[in-house]
């Protein structure tokens, strides 16, 4: 219970809630500036997300990778690291899964799990490079993982176009059926929406996140280092090794997301002009969710819905679907700069809880 109380304090609910509203307002302003009708756009967004069983299935499909990348970023954040490289780890996860899925011939009960695990490990190792560079060479993990994002993108393209390519096409040969993790029985009930086992594993990962961080010795160490590096060092913990471990686990989450994207959704990997962006949206998901597992789940649902619903906005109201990036960006902006939100909220706190009380509340939470 105590953890629930910790997660759901007054400001941890109110700030994201108000930020979402402010973000939607910014989006509406951008639409007005572009000459579009925000009311029509937002109603077609909701329509798109919940409209048909197919849309619901596809929304779930859009949510699953965000749970993984959100967890990846939240996990690193809890241990004092900012893993902006989830994007590259996601792409490497895709590639690992594709390599196994395309090249091997195995029974399904080995093939699919192996492809998933290799994808996850690819992501983990890719993140561990940034962890190693931080631990051993003192390089800010933000800079190194951005470089690794680009290197990962081109490396994946290189692997696909050199060794896995389908004759005459800009994509890999199809992943063998034995490695696919689609939920065909559910898909057929949803007009072939691309639902897959990733969502189930994502929910398990949410629980695992909690267990690893708050119920194991490793998690205690990771959090201790994140909370106060010097104190952890003084307590005899190997801070450098912890950094690498933390990044590795964080990358596992992102890699899993990438693996399921290939094995559950596409069944092949394309040569990508740009990376898919789930890693960056994961930052939004983690931040909005306050870096807690439940928060990440809720954040992923919101942003997954926004991202998928944006297609409806562009179809019905003609709004370019980059509008979802603007809304997502604004929401994180307000969450990060919660001082601005509290500034807006101050008058409401005052009138509702009598003079002075609101201020005291604010101060307590600020510390």
């Amino acid at each position: 219970m105590s953890i629930l109380n910790k997660i759901f304090t007054k400001s941890s609910i109110l700030v994201p809630f108000v930020s979402i509203i402010l973000g939607l307002i910014v989006g509406a302003i951008a639409m007005l500036a572009g000459g579009f009708n925000p009311l029509l756009a937002y109603s077609s967004l909701v329509q798109k997300v919940f409209g048909t069983p197919y849309d619901i299935g596809e929304t779930i499909r859009a949510i699953s990778p965000l749970i993984f990348t959100g967890l990846a970023i939240a996990f690193a954040y809890r241990t004092g690291l900012f893993n902006i490289g989830a994007e590259g780890q996601f792409v490497m996860g895709m590639t690992g899964a594709t390599i196994i899925g395309v090249t091997l011939d195995l029974p399904w009960y080995i093939h699919a799990p192996l492809a998933i695990i290799v994808g996850a490990v690819f992501g983990g190792l890719w993140a561990a490079i940034a962890g190693y560079l931080k631990a051993k060479r003192g390089i800010n993990e933000v800079i190194s993982s951005i470089m690794l994002n680009w290197i990962g993108l081109y490396l994946s393209n290189l692997i696909v176009s050199r060794w896995l390519v389908a004759q005459g096409q800009q994509k890999s040969r199809p992943v063998k059926d034995s490695a696919m993790v689609t939920m065909d029985w559910l898909s057929s009930h949803m007009n072939n929406a691309r639902v897959h086992w990733g969502i189930v594993v994502a929910l398990v990962a949410v629980i695992l996140f909690y267990v690893i961080l708050w119920r194991t010795k490793l998690g205690y160490e990771l959090r201790a280092v994140g909370f106060n590096k010097d104190a952890a060092l003084y307590a005899g913990m190997n801070v450098n090794r912890t950094i690498v471990k933390s990044m590795f686990i964080s990358g596992l989450f992102a890699g899993l997301g990438g693996a399921f994207e290939i094995l559950g959704v596409f069944g092949y990997q394309v040569v990508m002009p740009a990376s898919p962006g789930y890693g960056f949206d994961g930052i939004a998901v983690a931040l909005l969710g306050g870096n807690t597992p439940i928060g990440v789940l809720l954040g992923a649902i919101l942003f997954g819905g926004l991202g998928y619903g944006a297609n409806g906005m562009s179809f019905e109201a003609g709004v370019p679907n980059e509008i979802s990036r603007i809304v997502i960006g604004s929401i994180i902006f307000f969450v990060a700069a919660h001082g601005i939100v509290k500034f807006f909220l101050k008058p409401f706190f005052r009138t509702r809880s009598g003079k002075g009380k609101g201020d005291q509340q604010g101060q307590k939470e600020a510390v």
Binding site: G138, I143, R162
Partner: protein
């Protein structure tokens, strides 16, 4: 082609690619010297690239002729400053986490730029190719010098501007009271505050300078090499500029040197394609090269940090 010509070409391409990096890195340097990390340089470059492309296009259509790219350049600076104010307000006034806000700036900038491009150009994800971008200036007299003439004295006007800015930047930072105060705010804000220097004011100036310069950096790319804006116009160069700030040890001349090094890594990609033997190497390897070199250089050089002491810390007078 003889060896001198081939090398001259390499130097020339290096300068072209370095110019945008130097602009942006110089801006990042001023922000960081005031104590504010600006991961948002990438986004600010996108803002500069987008606004310069659109404004130049409209200026050309409006009959500005050869003045068009100059109007675009100026617009990029103004929009860069405006956008950087988001960063400044959030991190300096409201003490938000600088790294996170920087990331937000990047997401917002790319989203907004593509969104507006599509809104303005009827659904097209890129601006039309500019009719009047910058053309290379051939410096009379100097351009006749063998090797150096082709290598250095035939360059885009932005390159000459950035060289002057580097020298001014060095002078301002280390030889003027303004520079001293800016550095003081980044090293020891509470002491600076004690002697009456406004930490808030200098940090705002630092961040706005980074917005102006990164805007110019972005504009440099659209107005010289790509002649238009698309989603992949900047593709990570803002981050390479941040690496250049670290590699250049927060000194304008060092930063320029580092940026030239990274520009060289990008130039290699273009330059190598002049040779037949390089055709067998997959293009992806060349695309990876600048990022791999950046990582390697950082791995070798960052162990000893010369970063401003208060970098990344919001200043809270109450904790003095």
């Amino acid at each position: 082609m003889n060896v001198a010509e081939i090398l001259g070409q390499l130097v020339n391409i290096t300068l072209v690619f370095s110019t945008a990096l130097i602009f942006t890195a110089l801006g990042g340097l001023f922000s960081e010297r005031s104590g504010v990390i600006n991961i948002g340089l990438e986004g600010l470059m996108v803002v500069g690239a987008f606004s310069s492309a659109v404004i130049t296009d409209y200026a050309t259509k409006g009959g500005m002729g050869q003045g068009s790219p100059w109007v675009g350049l100026l617009a990029a600076m103004v929009f860069g400053i405006v956008f950087s104010l988001l960063h400044a307000v959030a991190t300096i006034t409201f003490k938000a986490d600088q790294t996170i806000v920087g990331v937000v700036i990047n997401i917002l900038a790319s989203g907004l730029a593509i969104y507006l491009t599509k809104s303005i150009y009827e659904g097209s994800g890129q601006t039309p190719t500019l009719d009047i971008p910058f053309h290379k200036w051939v410096i009379p007299g100097l351009s006749d010098i063998p090797f150096l003439g082709d290598a250095i004295f035939t360059a885009y006007p932005t390159t000459y501007i950035v060289i002057v800015l580097c020298i001014i930047g060095y002078f301002v930072l280390f030889r003027t009271p303004f520079g001293l105060r800016l550095r003081a705010v980044g090293e020891h804000p509470s002491s600076a505050d004690t002697v009456g220097i406004s930490v808030t004011k200098y940090r705002y100036i630092g961040v706005m300078l980074s917005g102006a310069m990164a805007g110019l950096g972005g504009a440099t790319i659209t107005l010289t090499t790509t002649s238009g804006f698309a989603h992949n116009t900047i593709s990570g160069q803002g981050f390479i500029a941040i690496a250049a700030v670290i590699f250049g040890r927060w000194n304008p001349l060092g930063v320029a040197g580092a940026a030239i090094f990274f520009g060289f890594a990008q130039a290699l990609r273009t330059w190598m394609q002049l040779f037949d033997w390089a055709r067998d190497i997959p293009s992806e390897v060349f695309y990876m090269l600048p990022y791999i070199l950046t990582l390697l250089v950082l791995a070798v050089f960052t162990k000893r940090s010369f970063a401003p002491a208060a970098l990344g810390e919001p200043y809270d007078p109450a904790k003095r």
